[in-house]
């Protein structure tokens, strides 16, 4: 038994001891359900606005017959411009936000394309920012708006037809507390 063997043996024992005191990652792997970020990632304050709108009997945001029930803004292929047909949707939500200054929305941009996940995140962001800018032009305060992107990661339609792709070229308007 030379010095090398001794060293190896010692190192082995020490390291095995270290192993046994380390929890295997399989059991330690955190699981997240995505519903609330487990409180570790403060994103938006809790909904404090709705309760303040005392005179409104039915929240138009929850009324399926309200124009505000339409929450998606669709885009043309390779475009982030809010097209004519979508401008009314943007305007409806902008007016609501102007009259409810405590309400906040997250505008979630999406893409249909294949390709780089990160570049698609940028493209979805561009669409969300476009809707955000349109709302600001109408007079919504910047602090009521957050533009984020899901890129190509959360497609509404998973098929490969043009109709599917059109469904995914989209920005969704999500109110705080939803």
């Amino acid at each position: 038994m030379n010095l090398k063997h001794l060293l190896i043996g010692t190192a082995t024992v020490a390291l095995l001891a270290a192993c046994s005191s380390t929890k295997p990652l399989e059991t330690a792997a955190p699981t997240v359900n995505g519903s609330a970020g487990a409180g570790q990632s403060a994103t938006l304050p809790a909904d404090t606005g709705a309760a303040g709108q005392g005179s409104v009997a039915v929240d138009p945001l929850k009324d399926p017959n309200s124009p505000l029930s339409k929450r998606s803004v669709y885009f043309d292929f390779d475009s982030s411009a809010v097209k004519q047909s979508e401008q009314q949707t943007v305007a409806n939500h902008a007016e609501y936000l102007k009259s409810h200054p405590t309400r906040k929305v997250v505008i979630q941009g999406n893409t249909d394309a294949r390709g780089s996940r990160e570049y698609n995140l940028g493209l979805g962001q561009r669409r969300a920012e476009s809707v955000k800018n349109a709302m600001q032009v109408i007079g919504v305060k910047e602090n009521q708006l957050e533009a984020v992107s899901f890129g190509k990661e959360k497609p509404k339609a998973t098929g490969n037809t043009e109709a599917d792709y059109a469904q995914n070229r989209r920005a969704d308007i999500a109110y705080d507390g939803e």
Binding site: R114, G115, R117, E118, L123, A147, F150
Partner: protein
């Protein structure tokens, strides 16, 4: 005493791999073939089928084969088995075409096993390298990888990568699993499970942490997770989207993409979060930063000239220089650790191909044959490129040599593999 150091490295790896060891989560298949491979005979080690759980030499042969640099000479080519140098029939091995041969044995050593090997040049009849490892029997797999590393280095002069790890996101049903596995796809373990997308995992240079983007907070947020403790923390959660983390070579900083300016721009933050400094200034999408090995430059994607292209710019500030000129869509750049080669994805006739570009000359070649490939990354010795490839609706991993002569498939049995990243030499 390099053997001791290597062993300590192997043992630490084992601590990490303890959970999912020895389960074959992936299968390896050598797809390509190449000329000028080194012909080696790896003779079965004495008692390797009785003293340890899994024979060592099949692992060693597999490791050497997947680099594309070796050709195996049938161990049965010479009549007599050899476990000791004196037993080697050199003329017989030379006759079988072997340029080198490895012998070895496994011996009981108390509750442990002593694994020893020697590598000889068949023509010179000279020992090229040797090693001896005393471990518990279940640790033999890591010793096999270490022996393969030593053989690889003795023959090619390059450092071996067989004890390195890879990370990727496994899409399994509706779940996203961030996994870490040995580079041969074995020992996969889940480090994070989520119902919301996880993208863009990136290894810290010390191999101890992974930065990634999680959508669990209903927006992209950059997290860093410690692989030893399992602890995770947010490092970038600014208003808007936070994504594309890339570690600086010294591990102190992260390049990230933030949208606080109204479009995706590249910033450098402290690796523990905070201190955001803007690096790119355009009205376009600037994303997918990758550091040069000396930490002075950032390679990135920008669509400032229309379609997305690859650029490079000093981290300290300065003008950007465009590097990709072929095709209208070039994304996902990574620089080889030796700083010589750039790999990225090019859209070509509706297909997404892995491209390898010589940084000095600008010459580039298409590496992958599949229709849809994503996110190439280099092995730490710069000798292989890992990428994901869509095959009949599901995504698998390939490792290829940058010259395109050899390709290996690492196929996960259940689910799609996305966003692979090859880890560094280092282990925590």
């Amino acid at each position: 005493m390099p053997i001791v150091k290597t062993l300590i490295r192997a043992m630490l790896l084992l601590c990490l791999a303890a959970a999912g060891a020895a389960r074959a989560d992936m299968t390896i298949e050598i797809v390509g073939g190449g000329a000028n491979r080194h012909a080696i005979a790896v003779l079965p080690f004495q008692n390797e089928t009785t003293q340890v759980r899994e024979a060592l030499t099949p692992i060693i042969r597999n490791d050497l084969l997947l680099t594309g640099a070796f050709r195996m000479v049938d161990p049965a080519s010479a009549a007599n088995p050899a476990f000791e140098p004196a037993q080697i029939n050199y003329p017989a091995w030379r006759g079988a075409g072997a340029q080198s041969l490895a012998i070895g044995k496994v011996e009981a050593a108390g509750g442990q096993v002593k694994i020893s090997f020697r590598l000889f040049d068949a023509a010179q009849q000279k020992q090229l390298t040797s090693g001896e490892f005393t471990v518990t029997p279940e640790r033999s797999r890591e010793v096999a990888h270490t022996i393969a590393d030593m053989i690889y280095e003795a023959i090619t002069g390059q450092k071996g990568i067989f004890n390195t790890r890879i990370s990727y996101v496994l899409k399994s049903g509706r779940d996203y699993l961030l996994q870490v596995a040995d580079m041969d796809g074995r020992g996969a373990q889940t480090i994070l499970r989520s119902k919301e997308p996880i993208i863009s995992p990136a290894w810290s240079p010390d191999g101890g942490k992974i930065a990634y983007v999680s959508f669990e907070a209903k927006k992209p947020v950059v997290w860093v997770q410690n692989l030893v403790t399992g602890q995770r923390r947010i490092v970038a959660n600014f208003k808007g989207s936070n994504s594309a983390p890339a570690w600086s070579p010294d591990g102190r900083q992260l390049a990230v993409v933030l949208t606080t300016s109204g479009t995706s721009q590249i910033y450098v933050i402290d690796a523990n979060g905070g201190g955001a400094r803007r690096v790119t200034h355009s009205n376009a999408i600037d994303t997918e930063p990758a550091w040069s090995p000396d930490g002075s430059q950032l390679y990135f994607v920008s669509d400032r000239a229309g379609g997305p292209q690859i650029y490079v710019q000093p981290v300290a500030g300065g003008s950007a220089r465009r590097l990709s000129w072929d095709g209208s869509y070039n994304v996902s750049p990574k620089v080889s650790p030796d700083g010589r080669t750039l790999s990225y994805i090019r859209r070509q006739g509706g297909q997404f191909r892995v491209v390898v570009q010589d940084l000095a000359s600008g010459d580039n070649r298409v590496l992958s044959s599949g229709a849809y490939n994503e996110r190439p990354s280099f092995a730490p010795n710069s000798r292989m490129v890992l990428f994901a490839s869509d095959e009949g609706g599901r995504s698998v991993l390939y490792a290829a040599t940058p010259d395109g002569s050899s390709k290996v498939r690492l196929a996960v049995i259940n689910g799609d593999v996305q966003d692979p990243a090859w880890g560094p030499f280092n282990h925590p």
